[in-house]
């Protein structure tokens, strides 16, 4: 039984880059899901094929992407230290 994992391109290394990559990958998986769903709705895909796709392709990929998003997003947030000047970060309009 194979274990699914996300394979990042070699030039994507930081949590920020990985988070971006994962949301992009999630969008690709979503579009694939909807393409298959459309085929199922229009009769080009049987019920068995549709559920096979959900069970064997979509759900495992969707699951592993969500798991990775949790990890990388957490690392990304941790890495946002006070390395910028936040002292003047809000505009405030004063009412007369």
């Amino acid at each position: 039984m194979s274990e699914l994992s996300v394979k990042y391109p070699v030039d994507i290394t930081t949590p920020e880059e990985k988070t971006k990559f994962l949301y992009g990958l999630q969008e690709v998986v979503r579009q694939k899901h909807n393409e298959k769903g459309e085929k199922y709705n229009t009769g080009f895909l049987s019920k068995k094929q549709w559920y096979d796709f959900l069970e064997k392709e979509f759900e495992p990929r969707s699951h592993i992407i969500s798991e990775e998003i949790i990890i990388q997003r957490k690392l990304f947030k941790k890495n946002i230290h006070n390395d910028a000047d936040f002292s003047n970060s809000f505009n405030e309009k004063k009412k007369l």
Binding site: Q26, H33, N34, K36, G37, Y51, S62, I69, I70
Partner: protein, 341 residues
């Protein structure tokens, strides 16, 4: 598909903002400081990992728009309350933004109150019905948002970090509940068709079989050990079209069909004989990998997607009735291919 009867949920609703029906929880005029929530007690520790299916709709929002408005549509928690007072739980809610220059986005949120972590989809449309699949797996919570009931068109997947704990209560609706302020930006909407996709029941024991010569059939009668929910199985009749123990052509399993009470449709009943022999036939049918499908446990509690995983019984010496039926069955998720049943 079996959905929760939302009319049985408890309301904390001092301003009568919520209206419950069997299939939906409707809310009207939920404002920034509105109070109220709708929940049901499923006993301590009930909700661990799960996958819940619901639908929701932000029907309308009116009034001032310098503050957002919020309508809760689903949640699991150990302390049901308004959004502003929740201390734990995983929740989903609809949010209509204030006039912040972003075009009043219609947003669906998934939030874990305890961690806290949230994710949102801000491309929702007012008056559209969305079909949510909310899943919790360990410390990962996801909410898949679809815009069709067959869930073939996925709009987005929300992901949050969850507290690794269990929850007791299910919420079908909740207001924002801030203590102060009245901004009169109110939301109308509803949640509904809560399908918790739980084995129902996970284990059932102690039936007895009762002879009924008048109908040439066998009845299941519950003796003990059945929760209140399942007492409706009483007097369900048993039929089979496969009592010869020969596999139907093209099938790899025997099927024993248990249907609801229908005195006009007694066909293919078990052969006449002693109860013991009938029970033996039933038992033989259930050997090894064989699976039973139960359809329509009774006229008012239609369940058409259960499979029995095991089936056994005992008979006391000298007594005609067969006791100690042990039936373990699980509800089949709709997503499973029926070829697997």
């Amino acid at each position: 598909m079996s959905t929760e009867d939302i009319s049985t949920f408890t309301e904390s609703d001092p301003s009568s903002l919520f209206t419950l029906s069997s299939s939906s929880c409707i809310f009207e005029d939920l404002e920034y400081n509105s109070k109220g929530y709708v929940y049901k007690d499923y006993d301590a520790g009930h909700f661990g990992d799960f996958e819940h299916l619901i639908l929701c709709n932000h029907v309308d929002s009116t009034g001032r728009t310098d503050k957002g408005c919020l309508g809760g549509v689903w949640g699991v928690t150990n302390n049901p309350d308004e959004y502003g007072d929740l201390t734990n739980g995983l929740i989903a809610f609809l949010y209509k933004s204030s006039n912040d220059g972003l075009g009043y986005p219609e947003t669906i949120y998934l939030k874990d109150v305890g961690t806290p972590d949230d994710d949102s989809w801000a491309d929702a449309s007012a008056s559209s019905v969305y079909f949510l699949t909310i899943e919790r797996n360990g410390t990962t919570g996801t909410c898949k948002i679809y815009d069709d009931p067959s869930r073939t068109t996925l709009k987005d997947t929300l992901t949050v970090t969850c507290e690794n704990t269990t929850y007791r209560y299910l919420m079908a609706g909740f207001a924002w509940g801030n203590a102060s302020g009245n901004y009169t930006h109110d939301m109308d909407g509803y949640s509904g068709e809560f399908d918790l996709q739980e084995p129902e029941p996970s284990s059932v024991s102690y039936f007895k079989i009762v002879n009924d010569d008048s109908t040439n059939s066998v009845q299941f009668e519950i003796v003990t050990g059945i929760s209140q929910t399942h007492t409706k199985i009483v007097n369900t009749y048993v039929f089979t079209d496969d009592s010869d123990e020969i596999l139907d052509e093209g099938k790899s399993i025997d099927q024993l069909i248990i249907t609801g009470v229908d005195s006009n449709n007694f066909s293919n009943v078990l052969p006449v004989g002693t109860i013991h022999s009938r029970a033996n036939i039933v038992n033989q049918l259930m050997d090894d990998q064989e699976i039973v499908t139960i359809k329509g446990l009774d006229d008012t509690y239609q369940n058409d997607d259960f499979v029995i995983k095991s089936f056994s019984f005992n008979q006391k010496a000298g007594e005609p009735e067969v006791y100690g039926f042990n039936i373990t069955f699980e509800r089949v998720r709709d997503r499973l291919p029926y070829s697997e049943i």
